[in-house]
């Protein structure tokens, strides 16, 4: 690594003009992250013309990058406060974040999320600075079989989310997988479950499913529950995380950052998988896994660190091999083209000012985001003091108008309302929407990777096991399935070793 170029990069960032653009970028990003629907990619498209008119195109690129990682911070806020995840990678934050908010600890959740995001992103930028090109090569070793194995692992982890009945969780996840197949099959262009509607041709957007099942479902459910009860404002204690919270969250942030950095490099689904894996990892290492889903701070810290680390490491494929890992990176790619730079292997040598300017702006941008978050957390948690009767229609309008803005489609509004009713009914019948949403997100990845693999292997499934990386992941999958079974078998033999009678009884009552 060229150290002087790296330092010059800081020179680029700290020019007042560039700092200002960085600030604008992260603030806009945070705002649209709070708004469901309108994602960072669409916002970057709207603001793309700024690249033409900016005094310095590097400043504009810094701004666009800021929108992207700023949105990751914003998405957490609605997940925790209103149970509407704006991004697929904040779905898992909903479980413990919203539970914490209900207990009056929204401030703690948001504070830890902000700190975790900052640390996750910073660790990831350091990783990008030192290991970027190396990691990019590693990502290339991931072919369709590896993705299939990884996504299979992800779907299995989905079943460990939440505390409800496992069979019901699996059933919900399976229906989520089926929902992901709706639309034109990308291998044969045959229509599946579209019932002749062109609107379903491209499948269902994640935001429609997530905001329907979580957001609208929650609003409808509360309408029934709230009726005839006086409003008791949630006690907003602990605006800022206590030392104990930080101590609990610390290791989770570390693990989440690492998982996020590694998985974020993989194009497509990397960030989702990272947050999911981080959540599952926390639940597994926890002394008492049953706290998860009822307000475990690690359940917020791990995934939030992971998705920000992943968002940052998704810059690696773009900046080192010229491959945009997601729609937002594609917009950044386009912006770089406008500047006259084609992102690719030569970028770091040809335009070190741009490369290090953008990379180093992320150190500064994340610092700005952390400093902004601290006062904003205090403001945002006040939302919970608003009476539910008032909050409900406002939230409903945000989601409905927000969903419309994704594709400018009224059809999506109806689809979201449909999923809202489904989400309400699922609650009534004891099903959790979480596994369904997550399985839906991973569904098309697992199917298309599986089918691509079979085409490459010419129908011989043993290829999955013989390839080193996919074989390793599959061995891990077997371990994930076998471990609880073995543990249970051992526990049956010696009932009093690692668990007290109460917890056994309790677990049984939860089944």
């Amino acid at each position: 690594m060229d150290f002087s170029a790296f330092l010059d990069g800081f020179g680029v960032v700290t020019q007042p003009g560039n700092l200002l653009y960085c600030l604008i970028g992260v603030v806009v990003g945070m705002l649209i992250g709070v708004l469901p629907g309108l994602g960072p990619a669409a916002t970057m498209a709207i603001l793309l013309p700024v690249v033409y008119s900016a005094h310095d195109p590097v400043a504009a690129i810094i701004m666009l990058a800021g929108i992207y990682y700023g949105a990751q911070y914003g998405g957490t806020i609605t997940s925790v406060l209103l149970r509407i995840p704006g991004e697929a990678s904040s779905v898992v934050t909903v479980f413990d974040g919203f539970a914490l908010a209900k207990q009056g600890k929204a401030g703690t959740a948001l504070g830890i999320a902000a700190i975790g995001s900052f640390i996750g992103a910073t660790i990831s930028i350091i990783g990008l600075t030192l290991l970027g090109p190396l990691v990019a090569e590693f990502a290339l070793d991931f072919g369709p079989p590896e993705y299939a194995a990884l996504a299979l692992l992800g779907v299995l982890l989905v079943a460990t989310i939440g505390n409800g009945n496992t069979v019901k969780a699996l059933a919900a996840a399976a229906i989520g997988l089926l929902l992901a197949t709706v639309g034109s099959d990308s291998f044969t262009s045959a229509d599946r479950f579209t019932f002749g509607s062109l609107n379903l041709e491209d499948g269902i957007d994640f935001v429609v499913v997530a905001m329907g099942l979580f957001g609208v479902g929650e609003i409808l459910y509360n309408l029934e529950e709230r009726h005839g009860k006086p409003h008791v404002p949630a006690a907003i204690a602990n605006i800022w995380p206590s030392r104990k919270d930080l101590k609990e969250a610390g290791p989770a942030i570390g693990r989440g950052s690492f998982i996020g950095f590694v998985l974020g490099v993989l194009p497509g689904g990397g960030a989702v998988m990272a947050s999911l894996a981080a959540y599952a990892a926390e639940k597994r290492v926890a002394k008492d896994p049953s706290r998860f889903g009822r307000g475990a701070i690690e359940g917020v810290a791990g995934p939030e660190s992971a998705n920000n680390a992943a968002a940052t490491s998704s810059f690696i494929p773009l900046l080192t091999i010229g491959i945009p890992a997601n729609a937002s990176m594609a917009m950044l790619y386009a912006a770089l083209l406008v500047v006259g730079v084609t992102p690719g292997p030569q970028l770091i040598d040809e335009r070190p000012d741009l490369f290090w300017g953008v990379v180093n702006s992320m150190y500064i941008g994340n610092l700005i985001l952390l400093l902004l978050s601290i006062p904003l957390v205090g403001i945002f948690v006040r939302i919970l003091r608003v009476r539910p009767a008032i909050l409900a229609p406002i939230t409903a309008l945000i989601t409905i108008l927000g969903v419309y803005t994704i594709r400018n489609s009224v059809f999506d509004i109806f689809l979201m309302i449909f999923f809202g009713v489904v989400g309400y009914l699922m609650k009534k019948f004891g099903f959790e929407p979480g596994p369904m949403v997550l399985a839906f997100v991973l569904g098309s990845l697992i199917e298309s990777s599986f089918r691509r693999s079979m085409l490459i292997f010419e129908g011989d499934a043993s290829g999955f096991v013989t390839r080193p990386i996919s074989g390793t992941i599959l061995a891990f999958v077997v371990l994930v399935i076998a471990f609880p079974l073995i543990k249970r078998a051992l526990r049956r033999k010696t009932p009093d070793t690692d668990t007290t009678p109460e917890t056994v009884q309790r677990e049984d009552s939860l089944r």
């Binding site: 491959i323 729609a327 594609a330 917009m331 292997p345 085409l455 490459i456």
Partner: protein, 333 residues
């Protein structure tokens, strides 16, 4: 209480419908035009692709040019889905007064019909084509690990050659499928969701070859990480002067993606003329020319009628080739 709610809703709906009869709803700040001074308000430009794709970028570039030449605003609205069929449907049913215009791509009209069922085919007859825009060439590239460097080297292939495509019903798929069929090489298509994943798989040696748009592949070609074999345009590509065309390599395969400005059928001639003139003026600007160069786009600034002729020709040619070689692009049956 419920009754009250319902009657209120009924009244509200009634009032709303009465209001709509006045025809005041708009998605942007103005309307279309029925006189010469086009445009009177802002003009929607739906594009059938997500933000960041080449169709989207081209639409945005044209929109900038139009608003500079004509005044008013030309907001680009991403209406992705079904390779542009959703955006096309929106344009086709819009008021033919110039308030909705759209840059559309040729593959939707010439190639997609070969891959989708009859009732999903979008016909060019629903539109008036105003002006050609630019061409995006495809290139066949091989990974370094595959050992292929020319069409002839495919003869040494042991087993099936795998090729990544950017999706079903795209020009990339057609170009690759035709190449391997015409060349009589046993091959298997591995469809990916767009150019970036296909390129990733190629760089990682997961597939042997891939058909990509030149702009997607060029940087990795320049750095020598992947090898270009042929391009599929009618002539060599300016950005890859050393790469032969498929025709030069003895394969009768010519596939290109091009884009053109469309308006709903029946739009007044003066509106179409205004748009065409403004676009031609845009093409002259250095900013627009730089844009083409950066995105590896070849100008194809022909008249609307020529575009239609070319489209009809290509459609027939592709259909004949696909039939001749028994290629199955998708589920057209």
């Amino acid at each position: 209480m419920r009754k009250q709610t319902l009657s209120l809703a009924a009244v509200a709906a009634g009032a709303a419908l009465a209001l709509s009869a006045c025809g005041g709803v708009q998605t942007t700040a103005g309307g279309g035009s029925d006189s010469g001074d086009y445009p009177t308000g802002s003009v929607n430009m739906p594009v059938g692709a997500s933000a960041g794709g080449s169709s989207d970028l081209i639409s945005r570039q044209v929109s900038r040019g139009l608003s500079e030449e004509l005044g008013g605003s030309f907001p680009v609205i991403n209406r992705e889905g079904a390779n542009g069929a959703l955006a096309a449907a929106e344009v086709a049913k819009a008021e033919p007064d110039g308030s909705t215009i759209s840059v559309q791509n040729a593959s939707l009209f010439a190639i997609t019909p070969l891959a989708v069922p009859e009732d999903q085919v979008t016909s060019i007859d629903d539109f008036d084509v105003v002006q050609g825009v630019s061409r995006d060439d495809y290139v066949l590239v091989a990974s370094k690990g595959s050992g292929f460097d020319s069409i002839e080297s495919f003869q040494d292939a042991d087993g099936k050659v795998t090729y990544g495509t950017t999706g079903v019903g795209t020009g990339a798929q057609l170009a690759c499928a035709l190449t391997f069929n015409v060349n009589d090489t046993p091959a298997e298509a591995i469809p990916f969701d767009g150019g970036a994943p296909a390129l990733t798989a190629l760089l990682g040696d997961q597939v042997d070859t891939a058909c990509l748009q030149v702009g997607e592949a060029i940087e990795n070609i320049r750095s020598g990480k992947i090898l270009p074999i042929v391009v599929f345009g009618p002539e060599r590509v300016e950005f890859l002067p050393d790469v032969p065309t498929a025709q030069e390599s003895g394969l009768d395969v010519e596939v290109a993606q091009y884009r053109f400005m469309t308006v709903p059928k029946g739009t007044p001639q003066d509106v179409k003329d205004s748009i065409a003139e403004a676009m031609q003026a845009t093409f002259e600007t250095s900013e627009y020319q730089d844009f083409n160069e950066q995105n590896n786009l070849t100008p194809m600034e022909i008249s609307g009628d020529e575009v239609v002729t070319q489209l009809e020709e290509d459609k027939q040619r592709y259909a004949d080739l696909v039939e001749e070689y028994g290629i199955d692009l998708g589920d057209a049956s």
